[in-house]
Symmetry: D2
Subunit: 384 residues, 4 copies
């Protein structure tokens, strides 16, 4: 009855972390995700840009080795016999490139939070750094780790909805409806640290990424109308985007942080010549599938109608919901499988999939194109 | 417990119909809508452009007087002592103007299906004809007759969601996913009869109308990317539209006839500085209301939380669903109330609301602007 | 695209009404239901037990003939050349028998609200009266008029879920959570007028009826635990019932008027050896069907997957909701079809189905058995 | 924005496991649950009743110490300086008592899967064993770990729905609709290993437990109609139960393993004099709350309207779903908090709650009473 991801515990991967100190949100999520399937062991960290905070946080987490900064950490860990094999980078966006570079050039695998960087220049440099490194680079576009997102991707690839015509993707939130001063809000609305995109960078990139991931379509150009509704806000908090894909498919993308009643309402709908697929992050264990002219079908995670791509990432029976942390953990598990294969000089099994540095570059390009298009009154901008 | 619309049967309004013969769809809907609250009596018709069909259909319906064409009908009914007081025009779009004109100029009230006309030129002429007539003109943008749409409008007007920032409206269908040859599909995809807009005209106008009706916002300009996905189709079957409103609100509008799994999935979401509202035509008895920072609330038709604007259009207790025909009948009932007031030289009660010829012109302008914008690669086009 | 019920207007059936004066609820529903498909014309009434009220209400409705009491009406109408062919009885329950008898014995068809009567003695007498009359007797268990209830019944009959094992049916409301003094509440909680069952009679009978209608199972016995939670209430306001059917199927039935958050939440779930069906009155255009081991399917009224039994009772395309009034009107339309066949001495088409006097007796027996079982501490009571 | 459970990693609790070898389902769930919040470290195990399997499984899991049987494990671990502090017992039901006893009498805390035991005799002995031990006993009625179940409990305790009248609880599944031969199905349908209850014991106990947990009501008696629908099945696969609680509240409980279309559809609805609450395990991040006479409100985990009892068990922001594993982990986290307090001789904070051995006894009594009542034709049986 229960299929899917098994526990493998021998030889946990030694993991470090950059960022993710006491008052950070996403660092804790990465730690749970790394721990869930027991494939990683967190042993070292440079958990804050303030050395004292780093030490305090390291003590709370019981880390073996705590560093004052990421460069020091990269240098020393690379020399240790049992130094870290991989590092999670969970800092604000503008630090991603500098931190990742230090580890990549020393052959330490990087698991990096999204968006890839705060600037397009940095993103391109990071792609080069990753390409010239033997180490792996994994970007945590975590929503691609949801089993039913994999299911949707597999069904599209299998031709079950035919040639795609229309892509509707949206990610509305409401937490920035009013001016907020707490830490999470503060750096995310500061263009120096977050990048020129606000909602666009923080959540629009997720929407863009998942749309491309599921459809397999190559985006060609976009037209964007960005707004900063909250007085004084320096980055967009609402974005309306038209998309054109190679081959003629068209899309709409909406990301917002000012839509009261929406928590994390990422939703993807894809329509092809033969059928439609609909998925929502807030109800992630279900995928609606309509073969044109037939009744809608509700495919459930690990249940009837679910295929290999979804089942290999499931842990518990259908009807027992898995959620955000499990989806995030699936990215870590994929990373672990790739690293374990890497250890022995092999490529991972082809079923192992994770977002790459190229996906990250695409995301930063998306943000840059949105900003550029909006500045030109929503003119079409090519996505290279 | 039961509030709302009461039956008033004395002095039913004598009604005629143009179009709506045997094999038409919307004619039957108009007849049920006119009958539901017992305020109209259908007595005459020119039910088809083919005289034989008109006579056949008239016999089936048991009409008192059947005419070969609408002009003849207008002339003769205007002369009868107990001739029709109002006429429903339910022909294909390109006939609306010519038919309506004949009745308006003879002082017979017109209840006309949407979109107003198939061309902008006709629409402007029809506005003039209506303005120079003493008779009333009612456009059946029927979705504005749903009680919870009225509820949403009332709440916006009362400031319950604050100044509006974002409007998301969509109307996807799937019935034209493949080439169709039956009558309903045939004239709707013929630009000569339907107008230059396909999905845009047939359902996009509904979406546009309901967004304006609920928000009270004045649309300023739009940018549209229209597609005709089905090979050989001469009008759009999918439209992606960006909207800008006076005062700074922004919107997205999607209408599609090629989205498998969508039947008549008109949905409106409006977000303001203080809260959000969400309504879906396929589940019309409910309105989601989120005051920012509080739990979502489900307001039900005729139930707790529903106000006067909704309750006066309700017939049965909450939990007993009312649907499409009841919403359509509400437009007829509003029309009847206005006509009854007109009989005695009065204005109707201010709570009586129905879509006007000006709303119709706005809809045709919307279609024209979409087509124009799309032809210019989604450049912004003003909505006058 | 649009299938289903067509309008037939020639020779409307002349209808009378007993009860249903100004301040009644269900009378208005019956009138709309009778009018919707244009098969009846209301021409006479004895609308209240108070002659003045009857006359007032008759004037408001514009009736041709208004009577002071139902007996007078039955006698005179039977003598008229164009007297009523059918009568709707919409009084409180305790009047049903006496009124129905007068019309039945004069050959006037009776359309009677449920439950059949307030006592088992009356119910049995009414069965006799109906059986010895040439006239038809139709009971408005209106929920059996919903197209998707017909769909469920057809699927069960076709063996699509196999031999039935479990039936779960419930009808919770909340409107009697506190003591209420208005008219609807008042007679419904008076055992003299409502019968010995409260919630059991008013809504439990609907739940019981729909379960039997859809499954085709014959109930064998029940065990009931009834409560009157609101202080001073003289009839049950909450009922928990275990059911046993011939052939071994088992069921649970819950009816309540004290369940806050429930409006008219009638819901039926049926499980067999091969699959399951689920339907809810508040979302009536959909039927969930799960063939065991396959994904759930959502069958929509008039849409893909819907069969003849549902489609012949549909008026508008899928995605345009039909509701309570349309379901109620379907019972009237079935009655009309039967009466029209009767006029010419024929049996109606076998697809014409309506609840009969025998169904009514079964409902009253159900109430009596619930009361008896509860008085015996939920001992099993046979349903004859 | 993010509140709730923080990570505490210093001094992980040393944990052993009895059962949970390679091909078991629930063992893996317990291990993830123990690991999620990083408060336990699994170091020892007797993972199977077959020594070879135990050793194999231990090797896969990388355990420090693997034993051939639980008694040997209890004896040796108790003597080790750094032996286990707690043990998870995840064997089939009939082994629970014998295993738990060995650890309890040596002062090792026991975390035991439900139902408590396979017989009432064993259950009573286990209560004694727990009461006479200084060690803690935690029963994994995991659904009580869902934050919104805690929310519901808190709201009931705060009087937000008033005095409770009606409890509706159900747990339908469909996986035993047909005869199944795999391991999970096999022991669960064997009365020697599972106990005399089938669905009643496996899932009915969960439904019963959660109803009591949320309402705080004391069940007084029940009447049960059990069925074994699948030919040859030796325990019930469907149970219909009426409940009476002290103080006059009444309930219905349905548990089934033969209801196609239901995966793990545990659902609880509670209605009081002032309002209603509704929660569903398959959509666990939401709680519906209806204050009588007001619109329904949707309270979301960690979102607006959620209180301390729920928020302290939440990890991620609202709209990012937590699921079954997180709820299960909450029980482990509560256990950890209690064990950590125990280490220093303290009682845990009063907000720490977990199911106890007494809850376990109540569950076994529930099963025994169901079986007894059903054997007596659904006569009422007292729950002591």
């Amino acid at each position: 009855m229960v299929t899917g991801r098994s526990e493998e515990t021998s030889g946990r991967i030694r993991l470090g972390m950059v960022g993710g100190g006491n008052d950070a949100f996403i660092g804790g999520v990465h730690r749970i995700a790394a721990r869930l399937d027991d494939k990683f062991e967190l042993v070292a960290g440079a958990l804050s840009s303030t050395p004292e905070k780093s030490r305090e946080s390291g003590a709370v987490l019981g880390l073996d080795r705590v560093y004052d900064d990421f460069k020091q950490m990269a240098i020393r860990e690379a020399r240790l016999k049992s130094g870290i094999e991989a590092v999670s980078i969970v800092t604000p966006n503008h630090v991603h490139y500098a931190a990742a570079r230090e580890f990549l050039k020393r052959g330490i695998h990087v698991i990096c939070d999204k968006p890839l960087t705060s600037t397009l220049v940095d993103a391109k440099k990071l792609v080069k750094a990753a390409e010239s490194s033997c180490a792996l680079f994994i970007l945590t576009h975590n929503y691609t780790g949801y089993p039913m997102v994999r299911q949707a991707r597999e069904m599209v690839a299998n031709g079950e909805i035919g040639k795609i015509r229309v892509v509707q993707v949206e990610y509305p939130q409401d937490w920035l409806t009013e001016q907020q001063d707490f830490k999470q809000a503060e750096w995310r609305t500061d263009p120096e640290r977050s990048g020129t995109g606000g909602a666009t960078g923080d959540i629009g990139t997720h929407a863009f990424n998942i749309a491309c991931f599921v459809t397999g379509l190559k985006p060609e150009s976009l037209a964007a109308d960005l707004q900063a509704f909250v007085p004084g806000r320096r980055v967009d908090d609402n974005a309306h985007v038209l998309l054109r894909f190679e081959g003629g498919a068209r899309g709409m993308l909406w990301s917002s942080q000012v839509a009261p009643g929406n928590e994390n309402a990422l939703r993807l709908r894809v329509y092809g010549e033969k059928g439609g697929l609909e998925w929502a992050q807030e109800d992630p264990n279900y995928l609606w599938f309509t073969p044109y002219g037939e009744p809608k079908r509700l495919i459930t995670r690990n249940g009837a109608g679910a295929g290999d791509a979804a089942n290999r990432l499931s842990r518990v029976p259908p009807g027992h919901p898995e959620g955000y942390l499990e989806g995030f953990a699936n990215i870590y598990s994929e990373a672990a499988d790739a690293i374990i294969a890497f250890r022995s000089g092999n490529s991972p099994d082809p079923s192992v999939i994770y977002p790459t540095v190229q996906d990250g570059l695409n995301g930063v390009r998306f943000v840059a194109a949105c900003v550029q298009s909006s500045a030109r009154n929503a003119a079409w901008v090519k996505l290279e």
